[in-house]
Symmetry: C2
Subunit: 333 residues, 2 copies
């Protein structure tokens, strides 16, 4: 296992210590239970937004805590759901009296634990809503999921809803917006290599020297198809076609196109993929009004790419452009 | 070779096409010869800043073209110097009448070609200065270098000098500032894995299953020492100690600490390294006044990390904080 770590058991705690030392102006880190909150939490009168999930997908979610995005994130161990007490403490820490939205990726453990935390928070008098993100068109049901998995759409929902909460939207309006983002976003990913979970010490799955997996999950869960490596343009088509036909995206639509590295794929390759994404959308009369290119929802050092398309409306576009100041995403302020 | 590419010969051109499609608000891409300029170049009365070098280090340099950083970047083929005609055309394209600074990483081919381009531009009446960045403490002379290699310090010099040019510093003042940044910055890197140059199709070097290389160059050039993998804290010490003793950095100094991924190392590991960097500086009474953590000067998909420390003065700090709006680095606007 070739990693820049000390003991596998200390990976998440030491990462949090690094985040704490690096970004004291933006976030505070709490330990036992682990969670990251924005430095000025709770913001009185603002809807709080909490997300979380297994570690290993950085910068998601901890890197998205700050102004204009998440109020708190709960990191589990690598690829392991955080616990209800993490989510409860995070929810309490960000409650400014206007209620708290939980943005939950559709994995069975995350759903169960966030539900439990929501009930406990409600018992303490905090209004909590939840939106489950399930944008991955690759497979119906999966190793850790009933229904579709939540992937890249989560990053976009967190940015857009974070801006809305910052603007003063009330809980119902932020929640409805999050549901609208989820209803209009579709993703699919692929892997060239596996990743190695530190506590396991060996690859999650095996791919042959010339093999790739289309439709991979962000924990290395099986996708649609394992096959010989194809050129980037063909791979892009294999990801884009199921995404486009699913919503479906149509001529005249404006979209946000998000090309994401699974962790080990460098930027030079993401731009080659983006080029083909843009060509395919041009051919179909679909306009890329916004884009995001880089490693934002990763699977440790897995080599591969995912593509996410969000059908935009004017409100989403404006909220996307609003300032965001977090360790992992920053502009406009 | 597991990469998201089409034909190896098309990698750089297709990447540039992707950048062109992704960021028309920020940059324009020219082909034959290849270079990237900010969309509003030339800015009249402003010093132009041009950098460049082999591709494969993205986002450096093309991702740093925009407001508040570079005016143009010249990408060569992967790990291959750009040609003098690229540099000449870029220099002419950004000349707003106040002269042009070339920021050059210390590699023999880059130096030679930038010198030739500077002479040709001067012959056409453009005032050109050059600063060579040579911040890598790992080795004296190397496969492609006489003297020390230019690595992570280049990113910092480009940001700080870009801000100075944006503020209206004249050519002499921007040039002196760039020399001062170079005089106060030190770096060292290491690799856990090699990378694969697309046209070669196989790893640049071989590392055993449990081996790492300390002092690696950004093209996989040999470093100081090949040895068994150590814990992240020990690796961080092996990089930090030669950096700290070289300047030397001293009690009371304020520094910018830059922890950089070589491409294949995920953010979770960078924060583990940053944690140890911060601890070591605290112990020595050195304050981290600014930081940068992420993949900014990469070696394709190489797994590994580099650390760069810059001794800051007040002017550099202010310039660092100035707005920057580029595809690869963005804040404050």
């Amino acid at each position: 296992m070739k990693k820049l770590i000390n003991r596998p058991d200390d990976v998440v705690r030491e990462e949090l210590q690094g985040i704490e030392k690096a970004h004291p102006d933006l976030v505070k880190v709490h330990y036992d239970p682990h969670f990251i909150v924005r430095a000025d939490a709770p913001v009185q009168g603002k809807v709080g937004i909490v997300s979380g999930g297994g570690s290993g997908h950085e910068p998601m979610h901890g890197g998205f805590v700050g102004r204009g995005m998440l109020d708190a994130a709960c990191p589990g161990e690598v690829f392991t759901s955080p616990t209800p007490d993490q989510m409860l403490e995070a929810t309490k820490a960000v409650n400014g009296g206007a209620g708290v939205l939980h943005i939950v990726k559709n994995y069975t453990g995350d759903i169960m634990n966030f539900e439990m935390a929501a009930e406990m928070a409600q018992a303490e008098g905090i209004e909590v809503t939840s939106v489950v993100i399930n944008d991955d068109v690759a497979v119906q049901d999966s190793l850790y999921t009933a229904g579709r998995r939540g992937v890249g759409g989560t990053v976009l929902a967190e940015k857009i809803c974070g801006a809305a909460a910052e603007r003063g939207y009330d809980l119902q309006r932020v929640t409805e917006l999050c549901e609208r983002v989820n209803a209009n976003v579709r993703s699919m990913g692929m892997a060239l290599t596996s990743c190695v979970v530190p506590s396991a010490g060996e690859p999650t799955f095996d791919l042959g020297e010339n093999e790739m997996e289309i439709g991979i999950g962000i924990h290395g869960e099986p996708g649609r198809q394992r096959m010989e490596i194809q050129p980037a343009d063909r791979i892009t088509e294999m990801l884009m076609e199921p995404i486009l036909s699913d919503l479906p995206f149509q001529e005249g639509d404006e979209v946000l196109a998000f090309v994401n590295s699974m962790g080990g794929t460098p930027l030079i390759e993401l731009y080659i993929v983006y080029r083909k994404v843009a060509e395919m959308l041009e051919e179909r009369g679909i306009t890329i009004a916004r884009n995001l290119i880089g490693p934002y929802i990763t699977s440790l050092e897995m080599a591969g790419v995912s593509i996410t398309l969000l059908k935009l409306d004017d409100e989403m576009k404006e909220l996307w452009d609003d300032p965001v100041v977090t360790p992992g995403l920053r502009w406009g302020a």
